[in-house]
């Protein structure tokens, strides 16, 4: 960022332009954009990815009137647990939330920029973007990170929000090249996502209540932690529980830790009887 010694607003600030903060940064201070830094290291074959913290598993599930997003709290660095209380689920704006799996440093920066991007548009235009519009902005952000992804520092976000047009929640998943896919009912990303998806498949129904959808997400995360060493399960000793965000017509709400704790306790009690979790009917 260039500072003008006179204190006068720099010319770029007064130049008419679009409503995108990312585009403004690209023109005025490109070094502030995540993914624009040239590592100059060529293909690292993933060696770098072992030396920086990685976020692991995120799940999202819809229920009538909204959507739930939950993330475990572990960040890993190769075989080391880098952090046991990292947060990977964030509100993107009042009616949507975003979470990431992959390189934690880039992911957090990307989420911050995405939040500013949505707020900036809202302030300049006096209206909010449509949910599809927000999802498209996230595509642009991931695409900017493609060079880093090619060097082993990929970030894969998951985006969900409340769409007033259908009066319900919607989920969008992405790939590291910026591909955007709308998901039906539920989705998971990150290293434990395969196990989480299996659990979601068996437990998710279309008529879940909000609390039931939250419970399904917790079950899926516990199943992921059960089989994936990089995913952290609920830490019963330190009382560190998944971060869970719920988006409904009333906006984004992060569930308080004691509320999540109570649900986790119930789930864990049942797992003392049946460690693999609830059994689904055969037919």
């Amino acid at each position: 960022m260039r500072f003008d010694a006179s204190g006068r607003l720099p010319e770029a600030f007064l130049t008419p332009g679009g409503s995108s903060f990312m585009d403004f940064l690209a023109g005025h201070a490109p070094d502030l954009l995540p993914g624009r830094r040239d590592l100059g290291l060529g293909d690292l074959n993933g060696t770098l990815s072992r030396d920086v913290p990685h976020g692991t598993t995120i799940v999202a599930a819809t229920f009538p009137g909204g959507v739930v997003m939950a993330g475990d709290r572990r960040a890993t660095m190769g075989n080391i647990i880098a952090q046991r209380d990292i947060e990977k689920v964030f509100p993107a704006d009042e009616y949507s939330c975003v979470a990431f799996a992959g390189t934690a440093g880039l992911g957090i920066e990307m989420v911050r920029l995405f939040q500013v991007e949505l707020e900036h548009y809202e302030k300049l235009e006096g209206t909010t973007l449509s949910l599809d519009g927000k999802a498209s902005r996230l595509t642009a952000l991931i695409r900017g990170n493609l060079p880093m992804a090619m060097q082993g520092l990929a970030v894969v976000p998951l985006f969900a929000g409340y769409d007033p047009d259908i009066e319900g929640g919607r989920i969008f998943s992405y790939d590291p090249t910026g591909g955007r896919y709308e998901e039906r009912a539920f989705h998971s990303v990150g290293s434990g996502s395969l196990f989480a998806r299996g659990a979601l498949k068996k437990l998710h129904r279309d008529d879940l209540s909000e609390t039931e959808a939250v419970t399904v997400s917790i079950q899926a995360l516990i199943d992921a932690a059960d089989d994936d060493s990089a995913t952290g399960g609920p830490d019963m000793l330190r009382r560190i529980f998944p971060v869970i965000g719920v988006v409904t017509a009333d906006g984004y709400r992060r569930l308080p830790a004691d509320e999540v704790g109570a649900l986790v306790d119930t789930v864990m009690d049942a797992r003392h009887q049946r460690p693999d979790g609830p059994a689904a009917p055969l037919t």
């Binding site: 960022m1 204190g7 600030f13 903060f21 920029l113 900036h120």
Partner: protein, 288 residues
């Protein structure tokens, strides 16, 4: 070769100041008022789309009068500056003082440079604090003068007359409904005849410190406004001339203000009632 006429610097600045002030006085007034839980903005504005009051950041709002294209450009620059600072530092590091300074430098530089037309705008930058004592309102004029205002500020149109009315009736710690009633009445006391403004003729927004969200700015819809206003009776008594209040004064950067009052409160032009929204507006050139 023609020799340009000599114009003294004083005369030049005076002319530029007169030009800007005439432009601003042609519009309609806007008021910012401190109330118990924050800062209230009320502006006479018949357009539902072109705003005179807007959000800049969590605790910061912007209000302006004058030429729409000019202050809209300043508003966008302010949002960019605030978002840029918030993104590169932290949300708490975006302050009204920094923004007001940047505006003052910009306005001052444009005013004193010969090449550019002075901006026909007057703006307010307001920051809501954790208590009334920590609220700050900065008032900036076309020449880059900046004043730290307490209580209330009025700008644009016949600002002195409106400020006089507010000064007579304002008290510290006023409720939101009370402040709103006062501001709407004050906007109606801007000429020889008292006007009764309807909710769709005014734009209202607040910086509400009691809001739980980080973003304290909130627009008040016409319906809510109509409900609040219907609960209080309008004041129809003509305002009496009172002593000039301190808050209505601005600090002038120099002696550019001419002594003459020929262009001070100008009666609103006859076509004042026409909507300002372009392109149907035959008088689209007129400042907001």
């Amino acid at each position: 070769m023609s020799v340009p006429f000599y114009v003294s610097p004083e005369q030049l600045m005076r002319d530029r100041a007169d030009f800007a002030r005439k432009g601003i006085a042609k519009g309609r007034s806007a008021i910012a008022l401190q109330y118990a839980d924050g800062i209230l903005f009320v502006a006479e504005n018949r357009s539902p789309a072109l705003h005179k009051v807007a959000e800049i950041y969590d605790r910061l709002a912007f209000a302006a009068v004058g030429r729409y294209n000019e202050f809209e450009n300043l508003r966008i620059a302010g949002v960019r500056l605030a978002d840029m600072r918030g993104y590169s530092y932290d949300r708490r590091d975006v302050t009204g003082r920094a923004l007001a300074n940047a505006y003052a430098q910009t306005l001052g530089a444009i005013f004193s440079s010969g090449g550019e037309k002075p901006l026909e705008v007057e703006i307010l930058v307001a920051e809501v604090g954790v208590s009334t004592a920590e609220d700050t309102i900065y008032r900036l004029t076309y020449d880059g003068s900046i004043a730290d205002v307490r209580g209330y500020a009025v700008m644009g149109g016949p600002a002195e007359q409106v400020a006089e009315y507010v000064g007579e009736h304002y008290s510290e710690g006023i409720s939101l409904a009370g402040a709103l009633r006062l501001a709407v009445d004050a906007l109606g006391h801007d000429g020889t005849e008292i006007r009764q403004l309807e909710p769709d003729q005014i734009e209202v927004a607040i910086l509400d410190r009691s809001r739980t969200q980080v973003r304290k700015f909130k627009r008040i819809s016409d319906e809510t406004l109509a409900r609040i206003l219907s609960e209080s009776r309008p004041d129809t008594s003509p305002s009496e001339p009172a002593a000039h209040t301190e808050a209505a004064e601005t600090v002038n950067g120099g002696n550019y203000e001419s002594e003459s009052t020929d262009d001070a409160p100008v009666a609103p032009p006859a076509e004042d009632d026409t909507p300002i929204a372009p392109p149907e507006d035959p008088d689209a050139d007129r400042p907001l």
